[in-house]
């Protein structure tokens, strides 16, 4: 067993590059992990953390670069190979099987057996040892995992990592699903792992946590390492924030905002809330205005947007469009009053991937092109074609399958859907997720152009720069609460991040 902090070099990644066709997910990442340290990985959404984890866990192969394990160059072709080396990963979505017992989960995939017969007693015994090592002897090894809390499942996942004799455990935002007491407990477990010589790569958005638990920090931005092996104790939070945000890429947000074209609000949200999800929120969006919801993933921004749209049923408050109150929980009502939503997960929530582009564009409006139920596909295609051309959709042939389009063009098709509908209130959830830089500028310009024509836009984005650049007004959401409201020019990225981090750690 290796001694704690200042231990020997366990893992080195040098110049890791990962290309996906058409996109560079990683563009030169360096990472050094010592045995027995808690190494924090920081970066905004899209910085490349997830891809890096996947490279380390054997799920992705790097295009270029070198991985050294205890000084020897290695390749990690499969997840099993990673486990064999001693690298275990705890994903955000915990990969435990609810229907199996704790012990069965711990030894899942490497069951203790001889000749196909399971050694149940040995497995139980070893599971109890592992749980004890993690400071949780109270979890019954025979308990069905589905009956454990999220925190309990995490412990099971860690026990599984230890059962593989893991020397490096990667934890992807482990605190995201935990309440404050459980976080404290998680920290105790992480510390005890560290003291046993296990290295932990800890990923979190919450700077407060990193300050408490981390030994060293590596910061990623835009697929590159911008700072590596910073000592947590010596690095001020401000410096970390500016490393994370940086301003290397300047983005064109499509010119000046038009601002409100009229004082009469188009969309009014009044005391809207869902108990236990987000607290009452009130705001108005006027024609021509862009209002942005900033905050962390899971803070409640998307939930607010979906509730305005009726995709979730509010428990209190109301939404009005041009003064008319919408029925709670009725998408139909929202759509017929001129609200449109471009959802966060375009592929799973927005598109029919096996259908042609035009059918995706007219998904909300095809009934208009029908007389007593009979579709007039010619008129339907023409309407879709017209929008496709005005948005410079590429390819412009709307008969083609939407699956073949790039992320940016798929997003344009989503917007085209609401343009055909003629909606006046547009809700955009992460409008540029999975969209490359060039297409981003086009989407921004499109949003601007729509707002100049009097559309009211309410958007959610995890990229603070985008919210500040595009929106006239910003609502900062943390932990289901709006913690700040104001014009976007009165606040900068650092202040937003400060608000978000404070709010998230209550």
């Amino acid at each position: 067993m290796v001694t704690q902090s200042g231990g020997s070099q366990l893992l080195s990644m040098r110049g890791i590059i990962k290309h996906f066709p058409g996109a560079k997910a990683l563009d030169g990442v360096d990472l050094d992990i010592r045995a027995g340290e808690v190494h924090c990985l920081l970066g905004q959404n899209g910085a490349g953390k997830s891809t890096l984890i996947k490279v380390l866990s054997g799920a992705h192969q790097p295009t270029d670069g070198e991985i050294l394990w205890k000084g020897d160059p290695v390749s990690i072709p499969t997840t099993m190979a990673a486990l064999r080396l001693g690298i275990a990963t705890m994903y955000q979505e915990l990969d435990v099987v609810d229907g199996l017992s704790v012990a069965e989960n711990v030894f899942l995939g490497h069951e203790l057996s001889s000749g196909g017969v399971l050694h149940r007693a040995t497995a139980l015994e070893r599971t109890r040892e592992l749980l004890k090592r993690l400071g949780h002897p109270e979890i019954p090894a025979q308990r069905e995992v589905g009956r454990l809390s999220a925190a309990g499942k995490q412990i099971v996942s860690m026990a599984r990592a230890l059962s593989h004799e893991a020397q490096l455990i990667i934890m992807d935002e482990p605190s995201a699903v935990l309440d404050p007491e459980e976080v404290e407990n998680l920290f105790r477990v992480v510390h005890s792992l560290r003291d046993q010589g296990v290295a932990v790569v800890y990923i979190s958005h919450r700077l407060e946590e990193i300050r408490r638990i981390g030994d060293r920090i590596t910061v990623l931005k835009d697929g590159r390492t911008v700072a590596t092996s910073l000592e947590v104790a010596d690095t001020p939070t401000r410096e970390l924030i500016s490393l994370m945000t940086g301003h290397e890429v300047t983005t064109n947000f499509g010119g000046e905002a038009s601002g409100a074209l009229s004082d009469e609000p188009l969309l009014e949200v009044d005391g809207l809330s869902i108990e236990g999800v987000f607290e009452p929120v009130s705001f108005v969006v006027r024609p021509g205005e862009v209002v942005g919801l900033a905050g962390l993933v899971g803070a409640g921004r998307s939930e607010i947007l979906e509730t305005v749209y009726g995709a979730r049923r509010a428990t209190a408050g109301e939404v009005r469009v041009k003064g008319k109150k919408l029925r709670r929980g009725s998408i139909d009502d929202a759509v017929s009053h001129g609200i449109g939503l471009a959802p966060e997960e375009r592929k799973s929530q927005g598109l029919l991937l096996d259908e042609p582009i035009y059918r995706n564009i007219t998904l909300s409006t095809f009934a208009r092109f029908a007389r007593s139920g009979l579709l007039n596909e010619r008129a339907e295609k023409a309407a879709a074609q017209e929008q496709a051309e005005s948005l410079h959709l590429s390819p412009a042939n709307v008969q083609r399958n939407i699956r073949t389009l790039s992320g940016g063009n798929q997003q344009k098709a989503m917007l085209a859907r609401w343009l055909v509908h003629g909606c006046e209130v547009l809700l955009l959830d992460e409008p540029t997720r999975g969209v490359d830089v060039g297409a981003r500028a086009e989407i921004y310009a499109l949003v601007r152009a729509l707002s100049r024509q009097g559309t009211a836009v309410l958007m959610v984005s995890s990229e603070i720069e985008e919210v500040l650049g595009l929106a006239d007004r910003v609502l900062v959401v943390a932990d289901g609460r709006v913690v700040h409201t104001g014009p976007s020019e009165d606040i900068d990225e650092h202040q937003v991040l400060d608000l978000v981090m404070e709010g998230a750690h209550r």
């Binding site: 996906f20 066709p21 058409g22 996109a23 997910a25 959404n45 899209g46 490349g48 953390k49 997830s50 891809t51 993933v297 749209y309 995709a311 998408i331 139909d332 929202a334 759509v335 017929s336 939503l341 959802p343 997960e345 375009r346 592929k347 799973s348 929530q349 927005g350 598109l351 029919l352 991937l353 096996d354 259908e355 042609p356 059918r359 998904l363 909300s364 095809f366 009934a367 029908a370 139920g373 009979l374 579709l375 596909e377 390819p395 042939n397 008969q399 083609r400 399958n401 699956r403 073949t404 389009l405 790039s406 992320g407 798929q410 859907r417 992460e430 997720r433 999975g434 969209v435 490359d436």
Partner: protein, 347 residues
């Protein structure tokens, strides 16, 4: 999370550059390409079976009488399969169609129903059968859409319950049709072709139209392809699902009418295991079991393939166990083929 989405879309971008021929504005945009290629395979298979029939059976196989037997057998299972095609396209499954058909034949031939039919009009029996089918389907749909019971379980329950109900009503007795109007209306030929074959044709054409040319069909495909996207686009998914299952029940009711005319009796054993034949025909026909893509033409071809196969075996006095074996092989082969085609269509 965001990285994964980025890569997903990114990996698909360059593929379109590799296949520039896709830019041609052909009418076969996506789904139809699959069904055309797939249908071609089925037509070839059907042709091969017919050749086999001619070789082994000669004139006996080719005789008009024999062909009409094949078509009449195909008609009942065909109409049921068409209903199931809608359900599977919507992303669901209906295991209850066979026993719902059985229940409908019983209900339409009770002494009471027949007495009314005798007094008023024979079509009372038709409306009863179709109404019972549609009502059972409606109940399936409500339980699935609003009760949030998975379709497999909800329709499995209906399968068992409808059969039991039919036995209860009939006391497990076969109920002979005594209304002369009914039998004379259905047990005859028009232009040399039996009425129930015409009914099959009519239902198939109407169903093709419904699936491909109406808002109902478009909603069915959308709900099956991506229910969440359909919901967020403002489609009333639950209400639509209820209608889809009701439609499948209605088709089972029409199947019941055809069965009554073929057998001149109602029986609680009518339609036994038809749900499996129907699902096999639908899937072999090229409708995706996962939903989002359906083909009526394929279903009709699938039904014909199985019926011709059966006929060839019967004509040659071959073992029906071997027929079952071959049927199994055809199902697997067709689905393997389908997977190859659908992976092509994604490029």
């Amino acid at each position: 999370m965001s990285e994964t989405t980025a890569t997903d879309s990114a990996t698909e971008t360059p593929r379109r550059d590799l296949s520039p021929d896709e830019d041609k504005p052909t009418k076969t945009a996506t789904g139809s390409k699959l069904s055309l290629g797939h249908s071609l395979g089925l037509i070839l298979a059907l042709g091969a079976l017919i050749v086999l029939g001619i070789i082994t059976g000669g004139d006996r196989f080719l005789s008009v009488d024999n062909l009409m037997v094949i078509l009449q057998q195909a008609a009942v299972i065909g109409v049921i399969s068409i209903g199931v095609t809608f359900v599977i396209t919507s992303g669901g499954i209906d295991l209850s169609v066979g026993s719902v058909m059985g229940l409908a034949t019983i209900w339409a031939t009770t002494l009471g129903t027949q007495a009314i039919a005798m007094d008023v009009h024979w079509s009372i029996m038709v409306f009863t059968a179709v109404g019972v089918g549609a009502a059972a389907g409606l109940l399936n749909g409500v339980i699935i859409a609003y009760g949030r019971v998975v379709p497999f379980i909800a329709t499995l329950a209906m399968l068992v319950a409808a059969r039991g109900f039919a036995e209860l009503i009939s006391g497990r007795q076969t109920q002979i049709i005594t209304v002369p109007g009914f039998t004379s209306a259905f047990r005859r030929d028009i232009l040399g072709i039996p009425v129930i074959v015409w009914m099959f044709l009519l239902v198939a054409v109407a169903a093709w139209f419904l699936l491909n040319r109406t808002t109902f069909g478009r909603r069915t495909i959308a709900v099956g392809g991506n229910p969440e996207a359909a919901r967020l686009a403002g489609i009333k998914v639950k209400r639509h699902l209820v209608m889809v299952y009701a439609l499948a029940g209605l088709c089972a009711g029409i199947g019941a009418v055809m069965m009554l005319s073929r057998t001149t009796s109602g029986s609680s054993t009518h339609g036994y295991l038809y749900e499996l034949d129907a699902i096999a025909a639908v899937v072999v026909g090229g409708t995706l079991l996962a939903g989002g893509r359906g083909t009526i033409f394929g279903t009709v071809l699938g039904v014909l393939v199985f019926q011709v196969l059966r006929n060839v075996f019967v004509q040659n006095n071959l073992d029906s166990s071997v027929q079952a074996l071959v049927t199994g092989a055809i199902i697997v082969g067709a689905v393997l083929l389908q997977q190859r085609f659908s992976s092509h269509s994604k490029t």
